[in-house]
Amino acid sequence: MADGWQLFLDSFWPIVWGAVSGTIPLALASFAIGLVLALGVALMRLSRNRVVSGIARVYISIIRGTPLLVQLFVIFYGLPAIGVVIDPWPSAIAAFSLNVGGYAAEIIRAAILSVPKGQWEAGYTVGMSHAKTLRRIILPQAARVSVPPLSNSFISLVKDTSLASLILVTELFKVSQQIAAFSQEFMLLYLEAALVYWLICLALSSGQSALERRLDRYVAH
């Protein structure tokens, strides 16, 4: 048991380092890019132009209708077959961003639609254009509504980044796998990996609460 404890301690910082250098930047970069993508897709989806909203609809359908692991493998192992070779990190970021883009688009679209029509009209009546009303009046209110579901997406994404270990990205799970293979202590190392994921998600949840409180300052309780 003392050996087990020692192994736990010895492997803890390497695993945390895997999180800091792999999991967390991967999740942050993918989420940031994915959100920008999602906003664009949401606006396309809301467009009155049938072609534009149709494209967005198909994109969302494909992303939601296929496994993330398959998307990842298509990009990393599939694209080279047609001459497109992308390194592990960019492949992972591309796959995760596209995935977030599909899921978060629906969240953002619903949040935009949840803002009362009178807010658009009030924006117009003070002289704002459609784009300016969207940016200054609608999106700030939609942001408040979309924080809980988007936080869920982000927490899912953090855990999903473990799939990147399958396309040679060194992150939290890959590090635990390597130590497990070397020490043959699979149970200990995988539970330890689970613990570190859980700690990250706990921190994210409290960050979510803080953000919600901040955005709730202008609503009645």
Partner: protein, 272 residues
Amino acid sequence: MSPTDPVAARPGAADRPLLTAAGLRKAFGQNEVLRGIDFEVRRGEVVVLIGPSGSGKTTVLRSLNGLETPDAGVLDLDGGPVIDFAAQALGPAKAAKRERLALRDRSAMVFQHHNLFPHLTVLENVIEGPVQVQRVPKVRAVAEATALLERVGLAEKRDAYPFELSGGQQQRVGIVRALALKPDLLLFDEPTSALDPELVGEVLQVIAELAREGWTMVVVTHELAFARQAADEVLFLDGGVVVERGAPAELFTAPREERTRRFLDRILRPLD
């Protein structure tokens, strides 16, 4: 705080109405809500639109702010824009949009459900248009907004969020937000209909005071006592047409049309 464009400023201006609406028509699908509406609003005049719900009065008002686009008819604002909607339906959409924006630049709307921006403070609500759209320097916009808020007794609420105010206070902020745009034409869409009865007075007082100061306004309301006191002309709309128009003293005491009489009876003596 007074209208920016006094009548005396331009010779002959008094002869020409600030707004001329002619033959406004609008249908939503099969439902014809406006079937040829004509009226004029002179500078400094208060025109009150009354009528049963579905009579088209709110659609008229919203058209004056570019929130609805009539299918036909002409809106002519002295000094521009002049919009011929029937011609526009065929013309380039871009031009139509530009003229609608020009219309919006000269008018400002106070909504039934105030539609304040909930994520902005009272002050931020008021300066949003001047600063973001009219490019007024922020310091000046804040000073003007503060003065306006003081006028309606809400200076100490300037950093509050809308949800912290009573309905009457919210609506007074809504009025100040419209005034801050310095419009030539103030539009009120049933500004007291959503308020608790005891809060109606404080809002009507503010509007009546603005009328006395010479602001030009078009008001849709069910408050006949207010109309009687503040209006220069009352239009009674029903079924998408102006059934009767006149000075409030005449129209309320001696309506010529049967439909007007019945409508007034229903409002003034609901239990009979």
